[in-house]
Symmetry: C2
Amino acid sequence: MSRTIISLLILLLPLQSVQAKGTVFLKDYLDKCENSEADAMPAIRAALDCCARTRAGELVLPRGVINIRPEHAYEHLEAISNNSQSLKRVAFLMKGMKDFRITGDGTTLMFNGFMSPFSLEGCKGIRISGIDIDYARPFVSEGRILSAGKGWMELSFSESFPVEIRDGLAVFLDKDGVEYPYCNLLEFDTRKKEVAYGVHDWWLWNNVLPAKKVGENAYRFEREDFDGMTPGNTMVFGAAQRLHPAFTLWECENFCLEDVNLYNAGGMGVIAQCCRNVTLNRVRVVPTPGSDHIVSISADATHFVNCKGYIRMTDCEFRNQKDDATNIHGWYMAVDSVLCRRSALLRWRNGAQCGIRFLKKGMRLEFADPATLTTYAHLRVRKVEYLNSEYALVKFREHIPARVRPMDVVAEDDSYPDVLISGCYIGNNRARGLLIGSRGKVVIEKNTFHTPGSAILFEGDGRFWYEQSGVRDVLIRDNLFLNCMYGPWGRACISVGTGLADKEASRYHSNIVVEGNVFRGFDNRIVNIYSVDGFSFRNNTIEMTSDYPEKGSASERFVMEHCDNTIIEQ
Amino acid sequence: MSRTIISLLILLLPLQSVQAKGTVFLKDYLDKCENSEADAMPAIRAALDCCARTRAGELVLPRGVINIRPEHAYEHLEAISNNSQSLKRVAFLMKGMKDFRITGDGTTLMFNGFMSPFSLEGCKGIRISGIDIDYARPFVSEGRILSAGKGWMELSFSESFPVEIRDGLAVFLDKDGVEYPYCNLLEFDTRKKEVAYGVHDWWLWNNVLPAKKVGENAYRFEREDFDGMTPGNTMVFGAAQRLHPAFTLWECENFCLEDVNLYNAGGMGVIAQCCRNVTLNRVRVVPTPGSDHIVSISADATHFVNCKGYIRMTDCEFRNQKDDATNIHGWYMAVDSVLCRRSALLRWRNGAQCGIRFLKKGMRLEFADPATLTTYAHLRVRKVEYLNSEYALVKFREHIPARVRPMDVVAEDDSYPDVLISGCYIGNNRARGLLIGSRGKVVIEKNTFHTPGSAILFEGDGRFWYEQSGVRDVLIRDNLFLNCMYGPWGRACISVGTGLADKEASRYHSNIVVEGNVFRGFDNRIVNIYSVDGFSFRNNTIEMTSDYPEKGSASERFVMEHCDNTIIEQ
């Protein structure tokens, strides 16, 4: 008991004497807890509370591994776009902090169980650097394929991924017996440490899979459509929910992450919503070094929604994560009904957006036709009342145009972030590389792509994911596209994947320039776009390789449908 | 669209002119919505908002069926003891209302999907009467047993319970395709409309069960330990969570429910927490009349925690619900650690209590030994800080005694409700009848019990469920115990089931008088108690029947261990 007492006693400590903009050392708090090696959460909580109350300028984290457990963590109900809404345990919960740094010294924050590392709301001028984020037990589970045939496979699991058969179904656990639910399977090439060539996701309706133990460390999984698995490869059981992103930002300004390694997370790496000026410099998303893990974090490496100002990602590495490297977009709500001349009921149509309350008085909203995503009107918000997580009753300053129909989509149309993505490595992950949906100035340069799907995708739609896009000014230059398209996610290295019912009538995207890049690959599909006004492809080098089995040469290198003002110079 | 528009336009209506303590008629609001037959929620919301803002005295509901859907319902994060914590959609969300009635006229509130009918917080003087609560689709699923053998059974399902096989597992749905998860099975006798004789729960580890469709309406379920099912009986798939009690009360005073029928609920019927003076008069929990349902609501009919004043249940019927008729108890938190002389960290140890924040400044807490539940100290709360749903940091006015150890239990010990349960029918349900854990005066009279487990149970424990009990004054008189004990839940008709590690050292319960009752049953087990000081059994009639296969005669009629001052007069 004494260890626990001393550990928690820190919660009662009076404020440390810290000058305004002073420095707080987590080590001082850790040293006061005998038990802080097992759980630094009470020390972090005390130190962070002290920083907030004394308006300290910096929290310094000591070198070494810091274990953090959820028991004494903060708690916060969070609706996070493209992740899962829930009441979350959070280690570093920061609200309204200003001009504050968290500085590690190669510090590893080792999280245990279901908790979020960082969640920031309404903060300004925050810089976090010099830390690694890892979890004692990843949110995905990985098995080695021992043998496989039509309708079955047999897997073994390392100590990292304890498994049990309960009522004939495979259940993954951690060492404390906490369950890690899964909802899909994806095969990775163990040797190449990337998504295996030509595979696809296996989705599980019920978040379980029947299994039998057939040997000391051998489990047999049967499903009618199983086929084509390669012994030696790694089967990854994807996390059923995205509960715990590493960094969750809401309405923050001037946020910088530098020299940070993300080895694991129970959701996205960095998800910024309604933020202005976000910098990621030397942020590396990679599997835990020295581990047998093939996957890094369990969803997109980064994701930005309704952001402003700028988004800069420089010299980063987005590798082996379980979804795209980034997705930059806005939110579309759908019109549920027009109630009177100035009032309408808006509705979230994508469940992973429910709970987001971004509408504000004075905001300029665009109304768009969901078939073409063409903006046909702008109105300003006078008042918002949220009925619940799903519906918002909005009164406008102006009359609602007569042409507004249910299912028309509505998004903020005030300003968009300028985006710079430079010097990054992007690849080996599930799905695509960069999903670019900002209407600001976008520069993508000097990156290396090795994505199994499209390296750069212009998506957005108002019928499935309800993500606002529609680029206006994109420069893609001096990048290396290296053997992309070895998986099923996309139609070309650079492509449009917008969900338009009427492609012909739409010119949703415009002014995309692709120049000075090297396309070195086994797959012939370089560009596949539609509904674009202004596309230039010039001064690029295309080199074919035989590094993977050829599959794309029968397809055209350049596909452009319903586009205007296109230039292709090979 | 016009119907929807008109339906929702009501959300914009200006306040109806209502005098203070005036009457609002829901019909007026329903009449303004063309679409209110499909969903009365916008009308209810507008009417209820009007009542709250104008301090109306009564909301009158019209005769007939009112359909209510979750889309436009209120939303509320609720931690409900012995139910499931979640962000809930609520139809009648009432906060801080006073001296207000909701009066139906045989009104059926027909709910659709995952939503809670009534949730009241901090209300005083509320009376709800004249309504039936039903759901278009129950939260349990029921199948008729076609045939069964060792390791298997085949079921058919009526239109009420749509089922699909997905990836080899049975999934239950409603007509809109919404999934109804399940976590256990229990067999009911279709003809007798009660839990089948001698059965027990089948628990499902993974909330799913493999199944195959083997005929037009025939589904085969296999599990190694399946055995003894009776063709013709009804297999009930119990709801995986208790998300939506019919009436959730928090810190309410003088609440009365009268002439209310509860046919379905997605949790308990009435759950009152920290309430004072609750009356249930002619509340009937029964399966939907005219339906093929064998189960009424999906958990306890009623449940009272940390209540004060009085609890009165008169002329009620608690039939066929999926758990006990009532459970009246307090909450035990456990000591996690003592931080200093006046501060301790307390922890919820039962996950279904997490999120409850009942500790208040000035509250008198008892400290008890979890092995005997003997109170050894009292302290008053000076300050409470909740770290999260699980932990509370409490500062006390007095010094914490040196003997306090982690896992010692702590409960409020200020006052307890007097309980009257009179003229009720209690039976045919899963498990037990009345779980009595108030230290106030308790009278149980003129009821009929036909419970498959104990009719009256004195439970409470500080190691499993963490429910404070310890009765002081119980009178059980003039009841009929009719063929109880046909299931596995309990050791006698009247019994103690307290979770004590040291029964010999404890006299947790005291002063129980059983007189003037009729025990008419096939099972010999009438009384089984321990750790009681003061138990009188006198002037009762015991009649043996052969209505069920005999199983209890080998057991003793009266078992009393570690009791003082007992009188048995047969």
